[in-house]
C-alpha cells in the first residue's frame, strides 16, 4: 500500500492507496454464473433478447411460442420499466411468464433474474426467453447467465445501427433483422448491415424474420432447436 501526503486541517494527513483490480460488475457476474450453473444442470436453453423498444421482441416470442409451443416447454421473463403487458401477452398463449418491473432501470440485472428463477418455479422448461428492457446499450453489460444474446434490429430503425451500437452487435451470437415485410417501404440496405455485422462479429449469425408474414420464423425455430440439442448433448 502506497501512502500520499495530503494537507488537511492544517496538518499533514496520509492518504492510503490500495490496488483493487475488481470487476465493477462482479456481483452481477457472480449471480450470472450461478444462474448459468442452474440452467446447465436443468438442460434449459436460455436466451437474452436485446433491442430498442418496439423492434419486435415480444412479437417474435409470440410467433415462436405459436410455432414451438406444442413441442417444447417454453417460458418467458419479461423486463420492463412498467406494466405487466408483455408477460400477459405470453401468458395469453399458454406459457408461464414472469414480468420483472425495473422501476426505471434501463436493464435487467442477474440478481433480479435469479430471484425470479428461485421463486417462479418454471418446472423443467426447455427454452427460457429473457426479454430485456428495450434499450440497445445498457443491457449489453449485464450477463444474465444466458447461453447467448440475441440482438434484434427492425428494418424501420435504419441500416446504420450495428456501427452505432457496436457493443451489442459485437456480442450477440445471433442478430435477428425483424419486420422484413416492411423492406419495400423503407430504405434499409441489408447488405450494409451484413457487412457491419461481419466486421463486428465475424462468427455471428444473421436471421431475417417477419412476424407478420411468418417469413424466417421456421429458420429461427430450427436454430433454437439445434442449439437446445447441442446443449442437451453436452450434458449427456
Amino acid at each position: 500500500m502506497a501512502q500520499v501526503a495530503k494537507r488537511k486541517g492544517g496538518t499533514v494527513a496520509m492518504a492510503e492507496v490500495v490496488d483493487v483490480r475488481a470487476r465493477v460488475l462482479a456481483a452481477n457476474e457472480e449471480a450470472a454464473a450461478r444462474l448459468r450453473k442452474t440452467f446447465s444442470e436443468s438442460g434449459a436453453l436460455v436466451l437474452n433478447l436485446i433491442s430498442s423498444p418496439g423492434s419486435g421482441k415480444t412479437t417474435l416470442l409470440e410467433a415462436t411460442v405459436r410455432a414451438l409451443g406444442g413441442r417444447l416447454r417454453l417460458a418467458g421473463i419479461e423486463g420492463d420499466i412498467a406494466t405487466e403487458r408483455d408477460a400477459d401477452r405470453l401468458r395469453a398463449l399458454g406459457i408461464p411468464a414472469v414480468q420483472i418491473l425495473t422501476g426505471g432501470a434501463c436493464h435487467l440485472d442477474a440478481r433480479q433474474v435469479r430471484k425470479v428463477v428461485d421463486e417462479a418455479h418454471f418446472p423443467g422448461f426447455d427454452i427460457l426467453f429473457i426479454e430485456n428492457v428495450g434499450n440497445l446499450i445498457c443491457p449489453t453489460s449485464y450477463d444474465l447467465g444466458e447461453d447467448f444474446k440475441v440482438a434484434l434490429l427492425s428494418v424501420t430503425e435504419g441500416d446504420d445501427k450495428p456501427f452505432k451500437y457496436p457493443a451489442i452487435f459485437a456480442r450477440a451470437e445471433v442478430t435477428v433483422v425483424t419486420k422484413v415485410d416492411l423492406l419495400p417501404y423503407v430504405s434499409f440496405d441489408l447488405a450494409a448491415v451484413r457487412e457491419q455485422l461481419a466486421a463486428l462479429n465475424p462468427t455471428g449469425k444473421v436471421v431475417l424474420t417477419s412476424a407478420r408474414t411468418g417469413e424466417g420464423i421456421p429458420g429461427w425455430c430450427t436454430l433454437l432447436e439445434q442449439r437446445l440439442a447441442v446443449k442437451r448433448k453436452a450434458m449427456a
Partner: protein, 130 residues
C-alpha cells in the same frame, strides 16, 4: 440511469476496499472503462458526484482511465488505427475482415482513502500492506 447503477457498483466496491483497511474516507477512485461498455466517462463522473455528494465521501474524485476498443486484423497480425467512435469494415491494408478486440474493460483499479484519525506527525506503523 446506466451510469448511475455503474457508479453505485463502483462505490460499493470502493467502500469495501476501504473497510478492509479500517474506517476512512474516500479521496480518489481510479476505474478503467472500455469503449464497448457504452459508458460515458463524463456521465459516470457526474453520477459519482451525485451519489457521493452530501455523504461521508463527498468531494472524492472518480478518475476514469479510458480504453478505446481495438480493431485487429488477423491477416496482418496487427491492430488497425481508427478514429474514436468510428468502425472499419475491412482492413485498410489487406482487405480482410477486422475483428473488434479490447474495449470491454470495466474495473475498479485503485482506491485512495484517508484513514479516520490520520493526520499528524506519527505514522501508525502497524505493518499493513496492500
Amino acid at each position: 440511469m446506466h451510469e448511475l447503477s455503474i457508479a453505485q457498483e463502483i462505490y460499493r466496491t470502493s467502500r469495501a476496499a476501504v473497510a478492509a483497511h479500517g474506517p476512512g474516507h474516500l479521496e480518489r477512485v481510479k476505474v478503467a472503462v472500455g469503449e464497448l461498455t457504452a459508458i460515458e466517462p463524463d456521465l459516470l463522473t457526474f453520477a459519482w458526484e451525485a451519489l457521493t455528494g452530501g455523504g461521508p465521501d463527498a468531494g472524492s474524485v472518480l478518475d476514469v482511465e479510458w480504453h478505446p476498443a481495438r480493431q485487429f486484423c488477423a491477416a496482418c497480425n496487427a491492430d488497425k488505427p481508427r478514429a474514436q467512435g468510428t468502425w472499419l469494415r475491412l482492413c485498410p491494408d489487406c482487405g480482410q475482415t477486422l475483428q473488434v478486440t479490447g474495449g470491454q474493460e470495466l474495473d475498479v483499479l485503485q482506491v485512495a482513502f484517508l484513514p479516520d484519525g490520520a493526520g499528524g506527525e506519527t505514522e501508525g506503523g502497524n505493518g499493513r500492506d496492500g
